[in-house]
């Protein structure tokens, strides 16, 4: 240690507050450094004089005034309620139980935290995926998906009930956009094909039935509609449809049309041609 450090520690050295190693260093330094010896002597002289100063004693006036102030304060303050007394006792209990030093408080808090984590890990199970909830969610999702899919169908149903030819036509054409039209749509199309007064609507319905030509009921229904349809144009289109499906179920209908005198020549020719294909 240099001289300045030595002199700065004189106060602690004199009060015995230095640790043994530092005190030994000061002692060793003082043995050899004349300047520090002089400083040390001067320091001790003043320290001695300060220590010998008489303790200052206040006059009795201070005590009198203090207790007068306390009395005034007590009178002005409302009498202590049972709640205040209870709080005071509680405060004292906590002050006695809990550590007062911040470092100990911190250690205590850490201990509580570690204890909490241990107890939590030991006795509480982490919440796993709730299968019931998932099942319900899946069901709900499926329902929603179904509802969205059926939305287009519903629109179609409502449109098919329209009285205007244009609207009905639109409804039939809209079914072409449906990727997977359900059975109800198919039967509506077959109904339109069989009973709609408009040639255009019946033609469009037939067109819309092409994607469903793999269904036997569709083929049978088209075959059944063929002899009854008043329009040769629609009848020729139906014959083309049946010929394209190559279903023997249509043979009866085609034969009756090809032989029927009431049918248009073009229709009978087309029927014969289709029969030849089948």
């Amino acid at each position: 240690m240099n001289c300045q450090r030595i002199q700065e520690s004189f106060l602690d050295y004199q009060d015995g507050r230095l640790d043994p190693a530092e005190a030994a260093a000061v002692r060793e330094h003082l043995k050899t450094c004349l300047e520090c010896q002089r400083e040390w002597a001067g320091f001790q002289e003043i320290a001695l004089k300060l220590d010998r100063l008489a303790p200052e004693e206040p006059s009795p006036r201070l005590r009198t005034q203090f207790y007068a102030m306390l009395e005034t304060h007590r009178r002005s303050a409302d009498s202590r309620s049972p709640f205040v007394l209870m709080r005071s006792r509680l405060d004292r209990v906590f002050a006695a139980l809990l550590p007062a030093r911040p470092a100990l408080q911190f250690a205590f808090a850490c201990l509580l935290l570690v204890g909490g984590i241990f107890v939590g890990a030991r006795y509480l199970h982490p919440p796993g995926p709730a299968p019931a909830a998932d099942e319900a969610t899946a069901r709900e999702l499926a329902d929603l998906r179904k509802q969205v899919n059926s939305m287009g169908t519903l629109v179609t149903y409502s449109l098919l009930q329209q009285q205007s030819t244009g609207d009905r036509l639109k409804a039939v054409l809209a079914t072409l956009d449906l990727k997977q039209a359900d059975q109800r749509v198919v039967s509506e199309l077959l109904g339109a094909l069989a009973f709609d007064p408009s040639v255009n609507v019946r033609l469009s319905a037939l067109q819309a039935l092409y994607p469903h030509s793999n269904q036997a009921t569709v083929r049978a229904a088209v075959a059944a509609s063929l002899p009854r349809d008043p329009s040769p144009l629609v009848q020729v289109s139906m014959i083309d449809f049946l010929a394209a499906t190559r279903d023997p179920v249509a043979v009866g209908a085609l034969e009756s049309v090809s032989r029927g005198e009431t049918y248009d020549v073009a229709v009978r020719d087309a029927a014969r041609h289709a029969l030849a294909q089948l």
Partner: protein, 211 residues
């Protein structure tokens, strides 16, 4: 040899000004008493007053050099303890808190006087009742004490405060560091400087012929 005499030179200081902290005798610590005061049992402040009013009075006398004012300042500190008792924190040490309040009270006092504290009038300071029975020795001691007080008064207010807290109130360096919001190392350096300054002033006053 001088080396052999050095350990003997060391004078164990005797804290005569500060009363030893009452611990074993009293059933409640300062902290517990203050908690009770905070909760509304203001009568318990009397016990705190009995324990601390003398050291506080010494602090103010050394700081201001004015006995009458010092009594008022002690009174003011206890008044503020009552007034601000709700701000007392559980983790705080009571001694640190009371000196925190005392420093503020002293600062207000100096501000009110709008000047540095006036130097102590030697007549105002009573000499230590010396063990020497001779009148001449007593006169010398009285002069010496007056010079010491004058040297104290000549210090900067901050230096004086630091020296009083460290030397008379026997606060630990750590407590002073917290009060002044400086490091412990800085406390040591400043106390040393204040001590050196006091000694220089004292020696200068000693060399001057007494009027």
């Amino acid at each position: 040899m001088i080396a052999d005499t050095i350990p003997e030179l060391r004078v164990q200081s005797s804290p005569t000004v500060v009363e030893s902290p009452p611990s074993a005798v009293d059933s409640f610590s300062d902290h517990e008493l203050m908690i009770a005061v905070r909760a509304g049992e203001i009568d318990r402040l009397g016990e705190l007053f009995e324990r601390h009013h003398r050291p506080l009075y010494g602090f103010f006398v050394h700081l201001t050099g004015d006995r009458t004012a010092s009594e008022d300042l002690v009174q003011l500190v206890f008044y503020r303890i009552l007034k601000y008792r709700h701000t007392y924190r559980d983790e705080g040490r009571f001694s640190a808190w009371i000196y925190h309040l005392a420093r503020k009270v002293a600062a207000d006092h100096f501000r009110r006087r709008s000047a540095a504290p006036v130097g102590v009038e030697p007549d105002d300071i009573h000499a230590v009742p010396d063990e020497a029975p001779h009148a001449a020795d007593r006169a010398v001691a009285a002069d010496d004490t007056a010079r010491l007080h004058a040297a104290m008064a000549a210090l900067d207010p901050d230096q004086r405060e630091l020296l009083v807290l460290a030397r008379f109130q026997r606060l630990k360096h750590e407590e002073i560091a917290r009060l002044f919001d400086i490091s412990v190392g800085a406390v040591k350096v400043r106390v040393h400087r204040a001590f050196k300054q006091l000694r220089d002033s004292y020696l200068r006053l000693s060399r001057e012929p007494t009027s």
